[in-house]
Amino acid sequence: MNLRRDVFQAIADPTRRAILLLLTAAPSLTAGAIAANFNTARPTVSKHLQILTECELLQPQQNGREVHYQLNPKKMKEIADFIEPFRNMWDDRFNKLEMIMKQRAKKKPD
């Protein structure tokens, strides 16, 4: 059993991405309403909801007999932030490129 699920593993699955997308359009939905959007069996959708809840991308809320799911904005931001190191890596390289070429231009004025 996975004790701690990886957020990125969670969003690697197309159905789970679709569920997240669905919840950006509708702020809160029941499991049944979510499942109605997919051709897959209800237990499969429940499993996806469970995984997304375990990695805290979804926040379930008990409303009487029904559970409503909504996005956890804090965790969603974490996904957006993982691109930062990739961006910084390229930015560092390009800064270096700029510096090197400026120095070369100074050395050999035409």
């Binding site: 969003i11 690697a12 993982f82 990739f86 390229w90 390289r93 390009f94 270096k96 070429m101």
Partner: protein, 155 residues
């Protein structure tokens, strides 16, 4: 300092776009991408070969002080138009990332400034996301290693 490089990676797509404006004439920006000696200086790896011409091949390598190969990549340049564009493939050796296709466009903004647009196409959405995460995970590993070092010194 503000980061000038922008990454556009749409959810669920197998490509990403890197854009950056340079305080350099487009000729110098292009030269920095086609001269083996200069590439080596800013990319931070050894350039074993860089044939700046259509059908030309290139190869990058990084070796640690013990002589182990940490990184090796190669590719073929498909099209090269001076100060305008380069289309090439890129493949890291010994890792399951498959070949990626890169479209580099060089544009003059003014006579002294230019812009690079780099569109990178991966074989699948999953491979793109893995690539995007690499520096992120590397950063985490580095932080763990640093922590281990510090803890070791405490003992």
């Amino acid at each position: 300092m503000e980061r000038k490089t922008k990454i556009h990676a749409e959810d669920g797509r197998q490509e990403l776009t890197i854009t950056r404006e340079f305080d350099l004439p487009v000729e110098l920006l292009f030269e920095a991408h086609t001269d083996a000696v200069i590439i080596e200086q800013w990319m931070g790896n050894k350039v074993l070969k860089f044939e700046a011409q259509p059908h030309g091949g290139y190869q990058f390598e990084t070796i640690d002080p013990q002589g182990n190969i940490l990184f090796r990549a190669n590719g073929v340049i498909h099209s090269l138009v001076p100060n305008k564009k380069m289309i090439r493939t890129f493949e890291m050796e010994n890792v399951p990332f498959d070949v990626q296709l890169e479209y580099l466009e060089f544009e003059a903004v003014t006579s002294e400034t230019s812009q690079l647009t780099m569109q990178v196409v991966y074989r699948s959405v999953e491979l793109r996301d893995q690539q995007l995460k690499m520096p992120f995970e590397y950063g985490i590993n580095m932080a763990h290693n640093r922590l281990e070092e510090i803890v070791k010194h405490l003992k």
